[in-house]
């Protein structure tokens, strides 16, 4: 596995080659070449910014359709807490969970239920690992991907505990196998996701060797079906909910951090803000911080590109929903399967996250010095307009592309125009010389 699978992909027929996405990509992973956007997948962290900004809807996220249920004998839906924030006037989560079963799932397991377990484990981990402070959350896969390509110094700060959805998948699989007696491959664990980053994380996970998630559905494609079913099942609601305020709070920025029940934390959302926090953390500008929660999307998971509701409205809805809920329900669940799962499943990471120096220019230091000097030289020729006409987001990025051998100087309109002027001057001079010569 190359671990560079990206769920954000391009629809070439829709792409017009404009420069909106190249300008917005936080890792400068996109170029326009031959009139079409090209994503360098090693640089892409699946944040979904380009999906948000593309006016032609040419960027899309790959995810599964409900047909995936047919591939398995027994299926379990894992709804993200964000799903509840899409619905109006919801006061009983069991309605949503029962509706998911009516959609064709055999069972449901709330991701927010596993989130409460992760909160419990994190509380203990943060307390016991002061040398690692501030510990950086790893629930958002885009953040982990960003850190492994851009912030190697911060890898030791990562919280080595599975994301709630991965733990939920492991527990759900274990429970389903015990309940049905079916082998693992006949059981489908399907996540209902707010974002494409989770699609990639399920396929090429970081921190864990293999994900227990078999398929990922988008909240936006499940939502219309759910609102059709919900009014019809009000008489047959099952008791399926297993989470409280802490678990559901994970859908909103600050939810994970507040679940630690500590004071010295910082929670940032929106990829540009996150990058600023990581830069400052790298320069050791924070003191006394114990935990840093980071969310690539504005507002947290409610801001994911696969959701339908405005993230800030979804946040209000979630807050209203949890108002009268118990703080957490991990202690209230006494079912045998849950206790066994807790004993049998290792919730920690079992694989190192390695630094991937994808932005490196050369092979060795000598080569790097040479190439960086060339980048500087090129930058002094370019107009520093960052116009994007060459297909790279900035003049500096074009210079780097040239040094990497994937672009040339004349891709810059400014350079090209100067060369054309020079050429036309030379031609007219030549023409004049010839005309003068003819008069003699």
């Amino acid at each position: 596995m190359d671990k560079f699978f990206t769920a954000v992909q391009l629809d070439e027929d829709l792409c017009r080659g404009c420069i909106n996405c190249i300008k917005r990509c936080p890792t400068q992973a996109i170029r326009v070449r031959n009139g079409r956007a090209v994503i360098t997948k090693q640089f892409c962290i699946d944040c979904g910014e380009c999906i948000r900004v593309c006016p032609h809807h040419a960027k899309k996220a790959v995810f599964d359709s409900l047909d995936i249920l047919k591939q398995y004998e027994y299926t379990v839906a894992l709804p993200a807490p964000t799903l509840y924030g899409q619905l109006n006037n919801l006061d009983d989560i069991n309605i949503v969970l029962t509706a998911l079963k009516s959609l064709g799932f055999d069972d449901v397991y709330e991701v927010s239920g596993a989130a409460e377990l992760v909160s419990e484990l994190s509380r203990q981990y943060v307390e016991e690992h002061k040398e690692q402070w501030p510990i950086v959350s790893t629930a958002c896969p885009s953040i982990v991907r960003l850190i492994r390509v851009r912030f190697p110094n911060l890898i030791p700060h990562l919280l080595p505990i599975q994301a709630p959805v991965d733990l939920a998948a492991a527990i759900a699989r274990r429970n389903a196998m015990e309940k049905t007696g079916l082998p693992s491959e006949k059981i489908g664990i399907i996540f209902i996701s707010p974002c494409p980053a989770k699609v990639s994380a399920a396929r090429d996970p970081l921190g864990i060797e293999k994900s227990n998630i078999d398929g990922v559905l988008a909240i936006k494609s499940v939502y219309p079906k759910l609102i059709g079913i919900m009014p019809k099942i009000l008489d047959e609601i099952e008791e399926l909910a297993i989470s409280g305020r802490i678990g559901i709070g994970w859908g909103i920025c600050g939810g994970e951090a507040s679940g630690l029940l500590r004071e010295n934390y910082l929670a940032a959302d929106g990829i540009e803000n996150v990058i600023r926090v990581l830069e400052d953390l790298e320069d050791e500008k924070f003191s006394n911080l114990e935990f840093i929660e980071l969310n690539a999307c504005s507002g947290g998971c409610v801001g994911g590109v696969l959701t339908v509701e405005n993230p800030y409205v979804a946040k209000v809805k979630l807050k209203r929903l949890v108002k009268y809920m118990p703080v957490a329900r991990t202690h209230l669940r006494k079912d045998e399967g849950y206790e066994k799962a807790k004993r049998e499943i290792d919730p920690y990471w079992n694989e190192e996250v390695e630094y991937k120096p994808v932005f490196r220019l050369g092979e060795n230091m000598r080569d790097n010095i040479h190439k960086m000097s060339r980048v500087e030289e090129l930058c002094s020729i370019f107009p520093a307009l960052d116009c994007g006409a060459c297909g790279a987001p900035t003049c500096q990025a074009l210079a780097e592309d040239i040094v990497r051998g994937v672009a040339c100087e004349q891709d810059c309109m400014y350079v090209l125009r100067q060369r054309l002027h020079k050429l036309s001057d030379e031609i007219s001079m030549l023409d004049r010389t010839e005309t003068n010569g003819g008069m003699k």
């Binding site: 851009r150 190697p152 110094n153 830069e279 790298e282 320069d283 050791e284 500008k285 630094y355 120096p357 932005f359 490196r360 220019l361 050369g362 060795n364 230091m365 000598r366 790097n368 010095i369 040479h370 960086m372 000097s373 500087e376 780097e400």
Partner: protein, 140 residues
């Protein structure tokens, strides 16, 4: 002589929002050049401290960064008031920063000591009324 690359940055005075621009630019370049994460941390922290110092005490100046195969040299040059007592300035907690700077959370007296701590070599050339040049080296 081994190959090297020279970078130059102007540091403007009294503008805290821009202080740190030069060090983060250098940090980005070092990452692209495959410099070890540990060395990058040293350079980023020491250079940021130096940049802030130039803004606080010396009305700005300029920074010259030389990257070779063996080491990274950072030369912080200002035309500020000069340092009265270098030995004292090197003591942790000693600061001459005015109150308005302290109010911003700076001036804890850790600037020069931290710069020394994070670099392999540091020399200070200073002349009262003329300026100060701090040269730091991080070995690769």
């Amino acid at each position: 002589m081994s190959e090297c690359i020279e970078l130059r940055y102007e540091v403007s005075s009294e503008d805290f929002t821009r202080a740190g621009e030069a060090s983060s630019n250098v940090k980005k370049k070092l990452k692209q050049m495959g410099v070890s994460p540990a060395a990058i941390t040293k350079v980023a922290i020491a250079m940021y401290e130096g940049e802030i110092n130039m803004v606080i005490h010396a009305d700005g100046g300029h920074i010259e960064v030389t990257i070779s195969e063996e080491e990274i040299e950072i030369k912080l040059c200002d035309r500020g008031p000069g340092i009265q007592n270098v030995e004292k300035a090197m003591q942790a907690g000693y600061s001459t920063a005015p109150d308005n700077i302290r109010a911003l959370g700076f001036g804890a007296g850790m600037g020069l000591p931290n710069m020394k701590k994070y670099t392999d070599e540091m020399t200070i050339d200073t002349e009262i009324g003329v300026g100060t040049t701090v040269t730091m080296k991080v070995k690769l």
